[in-house]
Amino acid sequence: MTAAPLNPNVFKSDLKPIWCPGCGDYGVVQAIYRALSAVGRPPHEIAFISGIGCSSRIPGYTTAYGFNSVHGRALPIAQGVKLANPDLLVLVAGGDGDGFSIGGGHVAHAIRRNMDLTYIVMDNQVYGLTKGQLSPTSPRGLKTVTSMYGSLEQPINPLLQVLSFGAGFVAQGTPADMAGLAAIIEEGLRYPGFAFINVQSPCVTYGEEEQQLRAHKTRMKTLASLGHDPKDYLKALEWSTHYGRELYTGVFYKNPEPPPSYDALVRERQKELSKGALPRERILDLFKKG
């Protein structure tokens, strides 16, 4: 991927976002335009897959091929796209509910396969599209319309989860730091394997005060400033345990020796096995006896 950068506006579509004014997702889509422009692949070579939720509208706001699918199923669909055409740059995006609740079962397997995908979760700790219910990353005690007396549940820690599943690239960012977020996404896009980026993208309508961009600016600490080495897996695990209490941004882990990605192995296998293929029109010879 040594293409020349493109103008970020090349990736901006004509559709007007449905997001509330001040939503963090505006910043995420801007960061994506910047990252894509730096990577330099033209929009038609990009497939951008999402599920359902406020943030899952995001593919439509780009000029890439988008697929705004069904709730929780962006990862399986994206893997089908990537396997069908490994030459594509494939992005996946969605919210914390899409990725860690209804679609939670797919995350471990997408990571297990290590396809060259970049998965961006816009984590706002609440269900915005359905108007303010509890989400899998909502903090314990959070009062919402479905947890009137405070949540009794411990939140999921997306960073710790994906690290333990074995993801080769794990990072966190916030639109409060646009340059940092764009850089993380670009690095994720360039990583040759499964890349996970958790974006603390506040919900202005249903989110808590300390989750807003203003608060992020004072709360956030870059892992680089703390002296973290992204090659250090165990240390990455440790930093990730602070999820929900501290806002650490930057790359938690980047495998210094990425294993071959699944789609690369698939190409090798196809090439190797195609030598022994019967012509399609003689496929029934498989069932000749003797």
Binding site: G60, N68, N85, L88, L273, E281, K289
Partner: protein, 597 residues
């Protein structure tokens, strides 16, 4: 001499009954006979009871046949567990293990006087010949080969091949057991000989396969490039064959983490421009339903195979039933129309699968293939299929001019819009499960929704008029009719073959296209019909009820339906038809008197 024989065998898992059946079908196929083999198991993974039926005929066969001509029980407990699948009658020669201690006049088949009952010391003879009881199945093959005058050389060659990896000692043991069985049968000839006549016509080298394997092969032939699925009985063999073969054609197979991901990956591949498929059975189909709807609204081609088993829920995972028809047609939220096709045999699974891909591509729609456990897992001999006559279609892609200003869901005369895919310059669009306008932009407008619904329904109208998707056989002027589908259609085709001899004027309609219902074809067929049966294997009679939604069935057309795992046999359909025919005759006088409108 016999021209059509059904052999049924049952034993415990380790007895090698199914492998004996497989040896038999391979051997007779190589001699030019037509044959069909069904297997049935208990729910256990290993051991437990297992059985098979092998039908050998000098002419083509369409079903597993009627009551057994030869029944082989290695022990009675296991045999009786297949009561409805291994029915014995007055024509049956019953052979059983003498060691069971049951006296020939005390065998546990109530209400039946078999043609002959033979208690054979199967285990003892095997031990004496081979030194081990393990080769019992080869001894049984020896008995059958001798009594039926079948395939001695092919069977011994088959034994040598089958045990090649196990070494000379095992091969010799099995050959000795085979010979011991053969000799025993010569010393104990049947009272009514069952020796098979020679196969009709010039014997051709036959293929042997089952519905699942041939479905997978058909997908490759049709140009499938991607399969995503999850293991489930009785459809897993579709994925297994593709995971061995599809890579060779530049394709990919993914064993997904669940049924939803199976169809999700397949739909993603279709979005990326490749022909793609998933396969499952009832419970998996229930899980895939949401993404089926997505495929419909996003107008993406996709082939979904549902190998039906008994349901609901886990139901009867290893037995056939035709009870997922309503699900195939109607399981969806919102207004959805998706084509449903059903193969009627192993050979027919090939052409039906190719057609499913064609329809999916032509109309940019998911297409469901409703197979069932019997077709999927029964082995059939088939003559080579001339694939040069089969057309393969690809989706309508945009022209360069259309890509200048591409509109994904553009209005067109046939309501099918050219479809681009990622990588195609100028073709980028937003695919979506949310309602959208012609350009793909999300919309909550009632007018847009109505217009797009109309597009998605109207594009499928021509399918109902496509020829070759309904087969009509028999006397066009017949007043008696059978309508049937899937594996049970073969039973009705055999009834038709016998109808003339029984003095019945009959015709049979078998739809490959179950849904949308090709109403006009049924109306023309039913014009002359005054009485008939819709024959199927479900408690509710789902095809009968589906037809009543769309067509005014004549009063005399009834449902002949029963739950799965209770095979419908040609003789009982024939008997019911005779009853209907007598009813029609008595109506003639009543009508004349004006007693009936």
């Amino acid at each position: 001499m016999a021209s059509d024989i059904v052999i049924g065998m049952a034993g415990s898992g380790g007895d090698g009954i199914v492998s004996a059946g497989e040896s038999l079908i391979s051997a007779v196929a190589s001699e030019g006979f037509h044959a069909l083999m069904t297997k049935s198991f208990g729910p256990q993974i290993r051991g437990g009871e297992s059985s098979c039926r092998v039908r050998v005929s000098t002419e083509a066969v369409h079903s597993a046949g009627d009551s057994l001509d030869v029944a082989v029980a290695l022990n009675w407990d296991d045999f009786l567990k297949f009561g409805s699948e291994l029915k014995c009658g007055g024509n049956t020669v019953v052979v059983y293990e003498e060691k069971t201690g049951v006296a020939p006049d005390k065998i546990p088949l109530p209400g039946v006087v078999p043609a002959q009952v033979l208690a054979v010391p199967l285990a003892d003879l095997t031990k004496k010949a081979a030194g081990t009881e393990k080769a019992k199945n080869s001894l049984v093959l020896g008995l059958l080969s001798s009594w039926l005058g079948l395939a001695r050389a092919s069977l011994t060659k088959g034994i040598e091949r089958r045990y090649a990896k196990k070494g000379d000692e095992v091969i010799q043991g099995n050959l000795k057991a085979f010979e011991a069985g053969f000799t025993y049968a010569q010393e104990h000839p049947l009272q009514r000989p069952l020796a098979m006549a020679a196969p009709k016509g010039t014997p051709t080298a036959k293929l042997i396969t089952d519905g699942n394997d041939i479905t997978a092969a058909a997908a490759i032939f049709a140009g499938c490039q991607f399969f995503g699925g999850y293991p489930i009985t009785p459809s897993s063999e579709v994925m297994q064959l593709l995971s061995r073969e599809l890579w060779k054609y530049g394709g990919a197979v993914i064993q997904a983490e669940d049924e939803i991901a199976g169809i999700g990956t397949a739909l993603g591949a279709s979005f990326a421009g490749k022909k793609s498929m998933t396969a499952t059975s009832g419970p998996g189909m229930s899980l895939k339903t949401e993404i089926l709807g997505l495929a419909s609204i996003a107008e993406l081609p996709l082939v979904i195979v549902n190998v039906q088993r008994g349901g609901p829920s886990t139901g009867l995972p290893t037995k056939p039933e035709q009870s997922d028809l309503f699900q195939a047609c109607f399981s969806a939220h919102g207004d959805v129309l998706r084509p449903v096709l059903a193969p009627t045999s192993v050979a027919d699974s090939f052409t039906t699968t190719v057609e499913a891909f064609n329809i999916a591509e032509r109309y940019q729609t998911p297409v469901i293939i409703l197979s069932d456990q019997e077709i999927a897992q029964r082995k059939e001999t088939l003559d080579p299929i001339d694939t040069s006559t089969l057309k393969i279609e690809d989706r309508k892609r945009p022209t360069e001019a259309q890509l200048e200003k591409y509109v994904r869901f553009a209005a067109s005369d046939d309501f099918v819009s050219p479809i681009s895919h990622p990588g195609m310059k100028g073709g980028a669009y937003l695919g979506a499960g949310i309602e959208h306008n012609e350009s793909g932009a999300p919309s909550a407008s009632g007018a847009v929704h109505a217009r797009m619904n109309e597009k998605r329904f109207k594009k499928l109208e021509p399918l109902k008029r496509q020829t070759g998707l309904v087969s009509v056989e028999g006397d066009p002027a017949a007043e008696l009719a059978l309508i049937s589908w899937g594996s049970v259609a073969g039973v009705c085709r055999e009834v038709l073959a016998h109808a003339k001899g029984e003095g019945l004027k009959l015709k049979v309609l078998v739809p490959t296209l179950l849904y949308p219902v090709p109403e006009q074809v049924y109306r023309e067929f039913l014009g002359s019909v005054r009485a008939g049966l819709v024959v199927e294997q479900s408690h509710q009679g789902q095809l009968y009820r589906l037809l009543r939604m769309f067509i005014d069935l004549p009063k005399g057309v009834q449902s002949f339906a029963r739950s799965g795992a209770n095979p419908i046999q040609p003789a009982e359909v024939l008997a019911k038809l005779k009853e209907l025919s007598f009813g029609l005759q008595s109506r003639v006088e009543d009508e004349r008197r004006g007693d009936i409108e």
